[in-house]
């Protein structure tokens, strides 16, 4: 049948549809609270490291590019590009982790370390949402890195890796990239540096 979609691919898109709703709930909560407490939330944005956030966005966009190239490349290049994609994902996590470390050092990691420069409850709320939402994004990325390396290992062991599985890995990876594309302006740009 023409235009028939593999069941696995369809399943992935339905899964991603549920993920869109999952992340949009969190983003909408952030958006509503920003509306309620614009001053405190802008103050929160000013405590973000814009350079680290921008570099991380570029790193993740590059990983999406290498993932797309991997799926369009010959088998010889596919494996290398998949490893490069996972490596870039790991670089993102290292940069994100160093940002978390800086926030913790400066007393802005609620509830573990909380001695912030300003004590408004909404400022704390900003950081709770920041760690919750970026943490869930980092968890998604970690799962993606694990799956990419697992597929690469199977290829190295000459086990079967279906086209649909690789396509689904790509879809998941790009989705995680899209989530960050929206998180970046929310946490690093809007209201903070102008």
């Amino acid at each position: 049948m023409k235009n028939r979609v593999p069941a696995g691919l369809l399943g992935m898109w339905v899964f991603l549809a549920s993920e869109v709703l999952f992340f949009s709930t969190l983003i909408l909560a952030f958006w509503v609270y920003r509306h309620e407490w614009p001053v405190e939330f802008s103050d929160g944005v000013r405590h973000m490291d814009l350079i680290a956030g921008s570099v991380n966005t570029a790193v993740l966009l590059t990983s999406s590019w290498t993932m797309a190239l991997a799926l369009a490349s010959s088998p010889r290049w596919k494996g290398r590009l998949l490893v490069l994609t996972a490596f870039l994902g790991a670089v993102f996590l290292v940069i994100k982790g160093s940002e978390y470390f800086m926030h913790a050092r400066d007393g802005m990691l609620p509830p573990i370390s909380w001695s912030p420069p300003q004590s408004a409850p909404a400022f704390k709320l900003f950081f709770i949402l920041y760690f919750l939402i970026t943490g869930l994004h980092a968890l998604h990325l970690s799962i993606g890195i694990g799956c990419v390396l697992w597929a690469r290992l199977r290829m190295a062991l000459r086990r079967e890796v279906s086209e649909t599985l690789l396509e689904n890995l790509g879809l998941y990876w790009h989705f995680v990239d899209i989530v960050w594309i929206f998180l970046f302006p929310l946490f690093y740009l809007i209201g903070g540096h102008a």
Partner: protein
Amino acid sequence: MNAPLKRLTYIYFALLGLLALTVALSQVPLGTFAGPLALTIAALKAILVARDYMKLKTEPAGLQVIALAPLFWVGVFIALVWADVLMRGSVGIPGK
């Protein structure tokens, strides 16, 4: 480099360009336009990734509908939440 790989690379350059643009604009005092502008650029980036990297452009129409359906639900969700947040307290509730 063959044509499909070239195209993926052009998309990558466009994404980096949009990133540079949104970071540069964040340094300009745009007032209330800053938010909508940054989110519009984010949406453009997301469209490029979904259309070309997730290959939505070449998928059958049925799959495109399934992929884009959550945007409709998110739209309903956003509309109802904001209707509640913005109207709260402005509509009298009998008996309260």
